[in-house]
């Protein structure tokens, strides 16, 4: 683990992204927050990144509709599996 506290915007936004998945380490979060104190651009990016996460959580959820295989499809599948057993 690198001990430098001052990181580039690239590193800061990478940590911000990791944090969206709750996978940033404590040290990384500290570095990110130090960076955000002095960098407005990354501040804006972070805000938008959170928004992006919200949007993705909202719209990229798996559909709840029940998809079913038809009986014919199931029978066809059974036949194929039987053939395999031989």
């Amino acid at each position: 683990m690198s001990l430098k506290l001052f990181i580039s915007c690239d590193e800061a936004t990478t940590i911000c992204t990791k944090n969206q998945y709750k996978e940033a380490t404590l040290m990384e979060k500290i570095k990110l927050n130090i960076h955000l104190l002095s960098c407005k651009i990354c501040g804006l990016y972070s805000k938008q990144n959170v928004k992006l996460t919200e949007i993705c959580n909202k719209h990229l959820q798996k559909p709840d509709c029940e998809n079913k295989l038809s009986d014919e499809e199931k029978n066809a599948l059974k036949e194929k599996l039987k053939g395999f057993n031989m």
């Binding site: 580039s8 915007c9 690239d10 990791k18 998945y21 651009i41 992006l52 998809n67 599996l81």
Partner: protein
Amino acid sequence: MTEAKKHTLDPSKWVDSHSDYLFNYTITRVDSQELAKDIVQETFFSGLKAMKNFRGQAAERTWLISILKRKIIDHYRKINSARGKAEVKVNFYEEGDKKGSWIEERVPQQWGNEAEKNIENTELKGTLDGCIENLPEKYRTVFLLKNVQQYETEEICNELGITASNLWVIIHRARHQLRKCMEDNWFAK
């Protein structure tokens, strides 16, 4: 003392007991019904082949799902190597002296306030899908595995043969492009 219950496999009931569940699981993770059907079928085949390795520690369905997950990743890996060659890399950061600082014209812009309320909007989903569709294949694969499938970081790394820092660089870039695309096509409008 009672022994922990050992699970057993009964392939003759697989289709009736599990095919809908597996199909549902797959359809939300790949684009087409046909493909989902094929993957479910392959899963059953692989299951039959691997039956002797089943040690009864997991329930039948859990065991089948673990095979299925591998099949889905295989599918992603396939489209990855087929189409992922021409990768467009968009840089957001300077190289050289100012390495790691924002490139000026790529700096995020303020998003219109009105957009704030629009998270529920179904048109927004259309824009989002379009933006994801436009991501380079490799970025999209990893992004979707992480975001929609919610695979563990370690799981993705193992299966795709990449390191964790590799994975974060990919997701970072994917989200950068996604953010920019959403900004250009939704929030800035």
